[in-house]
């Protein structure tokens, strides 16, 4: 099904004051790019106050609608039919809708929203007139609370937009307005959800996965790729660094107390993420930690991680329960990918009794004079980059080639 017009309702941006214009500019660009990537037809985009309207003669497919509701900054999306400032045209539009339906709704209501104050009738008057007509013409009883069908009439400038559904979108702030973060991904449920939550708040993200080959196989890379592809729908585009970490893990395991392996792996992952952040211009690290979900997530162990990081570590899931995280993962489309089993951080290394309250000093001192900085730099240069664009198309590049291009780090912008 295609819709000729889509009314896009903005979210929090509308609360912004002086810099509202900037947010709108970024959002507008994000929307334009998304629609252009998925639809070869021409379309027009105009803003009428807090309503942005997309119009196309050929209409917008479900694919476009699906993509729009994943753009942070948009509160909801209403596919609509545009008619003139004439109630007769409104009635015709509604008739067309009902004639196309197999089943009639049991109850309905009309909701009129009017931003054109010059329109002769008030919203309530329009509600009454059209409502009365629908009741008479189609025999459907009106119902104010929780009706089966809500027909929304938006009177904007010199048109009325008639829509029968308003689809909830991600909300939040447009990607590109809150800065740039490095998001640590594992194959589990948590980190993708953490990424989603940060996308909602408008951050650009560079993803990083630490690959412990040969202690784990390569199948996990397919999983991580798929997760990144899904997460890229909430971003402007996605860039994933696959960092070879097997050597570093072995080096850690060769020198540390076995109980500290997991905590120290995390420490060096955070160090590497910081190094990467330096190269790409990111200002914070994101992880999927939830307080005490697993042994490395006690307060003491997280403190050890924090200690190793120059940049703030953001943990959006810190207060979430596992069940809540899993529910969210279903909602954002990562559940079925995360649920697939894979070798994670490999049982070979897992200590029988991982330390629960890490000794901060031991963690801080560990690794001095073992050349980890060089190992980390080397691992970053040996990484593989995977890109996903808006159409889900995938491209690869070596990190070496990427760094050699001397790209200016993308600091994003935060206000």
């Amino acid at each position: 099904m295609s819709y000729a017009s889509v009314v896009v309702n903005l979210d929090e941006i509308w609360l912004k004051g002086l810099n509202r214009k900037f947010y709108i500019k970024v959002l507008r660009k994000n929307i334009r790019k998304t629609v252009a990537a998925l639809s070869s037809a021409d379309f027009q985009y105009h803003a009428e106050g807090p309503k942005h309207i997309l119009e196309s003669e050929q209409g917008f497919s479900n694919e476009v609608i699906e993509a729009l509701i994943k753009i942070p900054g948009i509160n909801s999306v209403s596919p609509s039919e545009k008619v003139g400032l004439d109630l007769e045209e409104v009635r015709q539009s509604i008739s067309r809708y009902f004639n196309g339906q197999e089943e009639m709704p049991k109850t309905f209501r009309i909701t009129t929203k009017r931003s054109n104050k010059k329109f002769p009738l008030t919203s309530m008057e329009v509600d009454r007139q059209i409502g009365g007509w629908v009741k008479a013409e189609f025999g459907i009883p009106p119902r104010m609370v929780n009706p089966d069908l809500t027909i929304t009439l938006r009177i904007i400038e010199d048109s009325i937009y008639v829509s029968t559904q308003t689809i909830k979108a991600v909300g939040g702030l447009p990607v590109g307005t809150s800065g740039h973060v490095v998001c640590m991904l594992s194959g589990g449920f948590d980190s993708p959800v953490a990424s989603y939550l940060l996308s909602k708040r408008g951050t650009d993200q560079t993803f990083v996965f630490f690959h412990a080959y040969p202690y784990v196989g390569e199948e996990v890379l397919d999983k991580i790729s798929e997760l990144t592809r899904v997460l890229s729908q909430y971003q402007r585009f996605a860039k994933l660094f696959i960092v070879p970490f097997g050597e570093i893990q072995k080096k850690i395991a060769d020198h540390c107390k076995p109980d500290y392996r997991t905590v120290l792996f995390r420490k060096y992952m955070v160090k590497t993420a910081n190094q990467l952040a330096e190269k790409v211009g990111a200002q914070a690290i994101v992880t999927g930690d939830a307080l005490s979900q697993v042994s490395s997530q006690t307060l003491e162990n997280m403190a050890a991680m924090d200690q190793a990081s120059d940049r703030p570590i953001l943990r959006p899931l810190i207060g979430y329960n596992k069940v809540e995280i899993i529910d969210l993962s279903r909602q954002i489309g990562t559940h079925d990918i995360s649920v697939q089993p894979h070798d994670d951080a490999c049982s070979l290394f897992a200590p029988k009794h991982p330390v629960i309250r890490a000794d901060q000093r031991y963690c801080a001192k560990f690794g001095e004079n073992l050349g980890f900085d060089e190992s980390i730099e080397k691992a970053l240069w040996q990484s593989q980059l995977v890109y996903f664009n808006k159409t889900g198309e995938r491209n690869e590049e070596s990190a070496e080639a990427y760094f050699a291009k001397g790209k200016r780090p993308n600091k994003g912008v935060s206000l």
Binding site: Y213, P214, P258, P341, D343, L348
Partner: protein
């Protein structure tokens, strides 16, 4: 590169490669065509057929049919035999999936599992008790592809036929054909499946020895090829190449058997020095071409990847089931304890495998195992 996964597939032997290079260029006609090109080609293929039959003394009592693979041959027999409702089905869960899958499909719950003793050999007594007086089909693997264990098929089929004369006996010979002397003459074996790419031949060709007079329902219908048993244009170039590989195999059979046995024995004795390494099937009679190992406390996947990093290739389970994680029904049937399944490795040799290769393998293998044991050591 050091390739030690011959049981999964083999590079073509020089003779076969040479022939294929030529025939794939010039022998492109359809052997079933009515013109001279087709007819000549078909004549040559009939000669190939005769060669195969002669190689195992089967020319009097058997027909030889060309298929695409041993998997197909196994399926043809198992799915194609018309058996009465009371028929019984026997096979081992250690057999190749191309046996266990169709057997499971046709027999459903009535499948009788052939048991193995603690050394992994077929438990002869139990089997004979199971089949006594019954009719249906028994499938045996000449050489088991995971363990390398050899089943004395000629002896066993004779014994089975004595107490169950109506039983059809089918052998999966994929790992054995051309490597071991075999005479089908006056044996109780009713059908024997063979594979091209397991013996230095090309991929995409296989065969089935079938006792004359036994009818099978065809799986592939069409142009009536192979006397109606298996439609599809014959892959003449590949079959001609396979013929070369087969002849080379039989010609060099003894010599290769000797040299590979020496290699395997040397390897086993070196490995015996390592406490954590065990060759669980070495007590049984097994093919010198296949060696199974259990490495205590180390996941075979990781060993494989380490070896791979040194360009050395071995296997941890049948290539067909390597995607699945966890327990192996094959190893379970061979009485390997469940918790050790992920420690199982298979090394398989070819006639071109050399001492140098084995030494290199040993050195990387020993180092890898030592490192990994140390890492996982506290468990």
């Amino acid at each position: 590169m050091i390739y030690l996964d011959f049981a999964a597939s083999t590079p073509m032997v020089a003779e076969a490669q040479a022939v294929l290079t030529v025939t794939s260029k010039v022998d492109f006609a359809n052997p079933s065509s009515a013109h001279k090109l087709g007819k000549n080609l078909m004549k040559r293929l009939d000669e190939v057929r005769a060669d195969f039959l002669q190689s195992v003394n089967a020319d009097k009592e058997y027909q030889f049919y060309f298929t695409s693979s041993a998997t197909e041959s196994n399926n043809l027999v198992i799915q194609g035999l018309t058996l009465p409702a009371e028929a019984d089905y026997f096979c081992s869960q250690a057999d190749h999936p191309s046996v266990t899958a169709p057997m499971g499909f046709v027999a459903r719950e009535t499948l009788n599992k052939i048991e193995h003793n603690s050394s992994g050999q077929v438990d002869r007594e139990t089997l004979l008790n199971q089949v006594c007086g019954k009719s249906g089909i028994v499938v045996l693997s000449h050489i088991n592809n995971i363990s390398g264990i050899r089943t004395p098929i000629k002896e066993l089929s004779a014994q089975i036929k004595e107490i169950a004369p109506k039983m059809h006996i089918h052998i999966d010979g994929a790992q054995a054909f051309s490597k071991f002397p075999l005479s089908l003459l006056e044996s109780g074996i009713d059908s024997y499946a063979v594979s091209g790419h397991k013996m230095g031949g090309p991929k995409g060709v296989g065969g089935l020895f079938l006792r004359k007079g036994i009818a099978l329902r065809p799986m592939i219908l069409g142009g009536g090829h192979e006397q109606g048993l298996r439609a599809s244009t014959l892959n003449a170039p590949a079959l001609l190449a396979w013929n070369e590989a087969m002849e080379a195999g039989f010609r060099n059979q003894e010599r290769h058997f000797q040299s590979v046995s020496e290699l395997k024995n040397k390897l086993v004795s070196e490995l015996q020095d390592m406490d954590e390494v065990e060759a669980p099937f070495s007590r049984s009679e097994s093919s010198p071409y296949i060696l199974g190992l259990l490495v205590k406390g180390v996941s075979s996947d990781i060993v494989l990847r380490h070896l791979e990093m040194s360009d050395i290739y071995i296997s941890s389970s049948s290539a067909c089931s390597s995607r699945k994680k966890g327990d192996s029904p094959v190893l379970a049937a061979l009485n390997v304890p469940k918790q050790r399944h992920k420690e199982y490795l298979r090394i398989s040799f070819g006639s071109t495998s050399s001492e140098e290769e084995l030494e290199k393998f040993l050195s990387v293998f020993k180092q890898t195992v030592a490192e990994l044991r140390q890492l996982g050591g506290r468990k």
